[in-house]
């Protein structure tokens, strides 16, 4: 094994190094984040005023669909896998990921999969236009021909996720340094262990449901066709059996990141470590028995409505435990407000708002009113943007000095935080109001009644987009130079990753460290 990275661009093609692969995941994810962001800005530009201005309704549908798909599968998930690749081996004291070649395979599938998926926009009949949830029969009987390419893209990105998860589980269970017992692992490692389990459990179900679509489209089967005895609602059940754990896949690693950052800047150990672990496991378990709360209006027996309503509300309990622990960790701490901490505090507050609107949506009779309105859009953007995106950004600022050896520009970081924070709330908070007033999602035109709030949302969206360009600039200029970071970077942070040099050497922990 060479001691440093190989020369030339083939370093990136052939690498087996977890840090190289982590960096590739993160850059890929950021590129997809910008692409999905451009799609979102097309949507917001069209919705700036009532009436049809900029795009055709058909293209608008492709934009909402592709925005969702690219953000979920291209931006958020790969970003978390990138952080896992970088940090988990260093956090558990392992020389690398357990299966380094498969690790690189997991990554390189993604650019191919997304090239194929984005290419559908240029195919005859346009790209997927049926929403990111691709409900049958919109995605089968009435779908454009490019849906076949979409289906296969989902298949191979699922394969990538499953291999990535297997690697993460094998690394955590098999590669911990001696003395690193399970209950000594950092919470980021714990949350990723549980996330990886969720991924292996539900990505095959997603593969199953797109396979059923493929068969219905091309081979005359009747899964989703009532004429043959099937049922379009079956699609929704199978999809959401995948889809609900999927939304926790996008938030559990975020919990882990925030649980690493808040103790550092509150200068107190994390409050209630073991309750955090059990709460994470409980959330993961519950995620498998709540899926039909996405389908309250589809026509279910009353027993189903009630079961899924109460099971969903139960999730508030472990989530409440977590929020309580984060707040208690900060309570009477010696707090400072560096950029990662700002993003983490915003995470706790805004994610809680998203959680509360989730509770409102969980009430089945109330959901009959909210379903498919902008209230739902506001809800899941409040959990995903301050939840996933803010925590990823916080993680990048927190660990960037460890990765590249330089401190980022704090002023620029804080400016970016406030731009993103204001932009986010301007964009999504008014959506609660227009949603409750009855504005439907996924429609390019709307009543003049909603005009003011939509204009505010669109302005906020462009502000939020500008903040991301600032993040890109800050990261690049930090990599290129800046104040040298110490090995500890922050004041007395916890974790093995702070015991190695900054920047972290190409190979860390070739011999396992001792963990007390």
């Amino acid at each position: 094994m060479a001691h440093g990275p190989a020369k030339g661009f083939t370093r990136w093609l052939y690498t087996t190094n977890h840090k190289d692969i982590g960096s590739m995941y993160l850059w890929f994810s950021f590129a997809m984040f910008l692409l999905g962001g451009v799609f979102a800005l097309v949507i917001r530009a069209e919705l700036f005023e009532p009436g049809l201005q900029i795009v055709e309704p058909g293209f608008f549908n492709q934009m909402t669909t592709m925005h969702g798909l690219v953000m979920v599968f291209g931006a958020v998930m790969p970003a978390f896998v990138g952080l896992a690749n970088w940090m988990i081996p260093m956090m558990v004291g392992a020389p690398d990921m357990a299966l380094p070649r498969m690790n690189n395979w997991s990554f390189w599938i993604l650019p191919f999969a997304f090239a194929m998926m984005v290419a559908t926009l240029f195919m005859e009949g346009g790209g997927p236009n049926f929403g990111w949830t691709f409900y049958a029969p919109l995605s089968t009987t009435y779908a454009p021909p490019s849906v076949t390419f979409f289906i296969f893209a989902v298949h191979i990105m699922g394969a990538s996720s499953i291999m990535g998860s297997i690697n993460i589980i094998a690394t955590i269970l098999n590669m911990r340094a001696p003395g690193m017992t399970l209950m000594k692992m950092p919470l980021f490692v714990w949350t990723w262990l549980i996330t990886a389990y969720l991924l292996i459990a539900v990505m095959p179900v997603l593969a199953g449901v797109v396979t059923m679509m493929l068969m219905d489209i091309h081979f005359g089967t009747s899964f989703f066709d009532a004429a043959g005895g099937g049922d379009p609602v079956l699609f929704q059940h199978v999809f959401w059996f995948f889809g609900h754990p999927e939304v926790y896949i996008m938030i559990l690693p975020a919990f882990g990141i925030v649980s690493a950052i808040i103790p550092t800047f509150a200068r107190k150990p994390l409050f209630g470590y073991s309750s955090m672990v059990y709460a994470t496991a409980s959330i993961a378990f519950l995620s498998f028995i709540v899926w039909a709360h996405h389908m309250f209006t589809v026509g279910m027996p009353i027993a189903g409505e009630l079961f899924f309503m109460y099971a969903t509300m139960l999730i508030a309990v472990p989530t409440g435990v977590k929020v309580f622990n984060w707040v208690t960790t900060m309570f009477r701490g010696a707090m400072t407000f560096e950029t990662p901490m700002l993003f983490s505090i915003a995470f706790v507050i805004l994610f809680t708002i998203g959680g509360f609107s989730g509770l409102m949506l969980a009430i089945a009779p109330a959901d009959f009113q909210y379903h498919d309105t902008y209230f739902v859009v506001a809800h899941f953007h409040y959990v995903l943007v301050p939840g996933a995106i803010f925590s990823i950004t916080a993680g990048v600022y927190y660990w960037l000095p460890k990765w590249c050896g330089n401190m980022y520009n704090e002023t620029m970081g804080k400016t970016q935080f406030w731009m993103a924070f204001i932009g986010l709330n301007l964009t999504f908070f008014p959506m609660h109001f227009v949603g409750l007033a009855g504005m439907q999602r996924r429609v390019p035109d709307y009543n003049q009644f909603f005009a003011d709030f939509n204009m505010i949302s669109s302005c906020g969206a462009f502000l939020f987009g500008a903040a991301q360009i600032m993040l890109l600039y800050n990261v690049i200029s930090t990599i290129r130079g800046g104040k040298k970071a110490t090995d500890e970077v922050w004041e007395n942070p916890e974790g093995l990753e702070w015991t190695v040099a900054s920047p972290a050497p190409y190979h860390t922990f070739s011999t396992p460290p001792a963990v007390k």
Binding site: P95, A113, I162, G230, F241, P301, S510
Partner: protein, 302 residues
Amino acid sequence: MSAEGNYYVPDQSRLPIFASLGLFLTVYGAATKLNGGGWTIFMLGAVVMAVVLWSWFSTVISENIAGLNSNQLKKSYVWGMGWFIFSEVMFFAAFFGALFYIRNFALPWLSGEGDTSTTNAILWSGFEAQWPLMVTPDMAANGDAAKVVGPGQNMSITTAESIWSWLPLWNTIVLLTSSVTVHFAHTALKNNNKKGFNIWLGITVALGILFLVLQAEEYIHAYSVDLTLDSGVYGTTFFMLTGFHGAHVTLGTFMLLVMWLRSVLKGHFKHEDCFGFEAASWYWHFVDVVWVGLFIFVYILG
């Protein structure tokens, strides 16, 4: 290639990028073919995948022979295979779940049970739930104009006397036996009995092939009596469940065949170092368990 501490971290490798390329070409080619194109890209992808998999496995095997794999690293492969099989279980769960939902919810509701009697009265009047579904809602409502026509015959057992000529029973016997023989092979290997290992493993492969032949026989019969992939939701679930299972048996047989060839031609596998074989045998037990589920829920309760 020096060992990285105790745990062998491989050098740079071309395998992953070419595997990604091969996978991409395969699925891109499949989608092109389904949308009316030719086979060329798909075949190209399949060739790339075959070459990559061949070299990937031979790399791993030669690393193991060269003694690079510590016990800890071997454990990573064990975890990897275990979780891969779990993902396969969940893939089948999606299709079993679909079968459950259709039989217990979709069909009764289509026939007017519950709060949905208007659906039946307006859209599918005259439809009655039954399983196996011989008369589709389309046939019940539209008679001769129906586009989705049910099967001419189903695969359930008709009379108690006919049980010995009932093919699924023989398939069950063949596959369950093969699970026992592969276990005998494993025991023989553990006892350092390479000859016994080769014989029992050979028998297992032969039983796997026999199962596939019988399954092909069943499909030919099914198509001759108008039970096809597009004959309503019975045909759909029957062929998708047994078809995916058959595909997995094909893969499992191929894996065991490769293990057999490695043992017979190359003398691979020692009693304390045989995870390649063990992984394939786990996979074989997995397809066996899936078949038991199929036998119960598709055939007996069919």
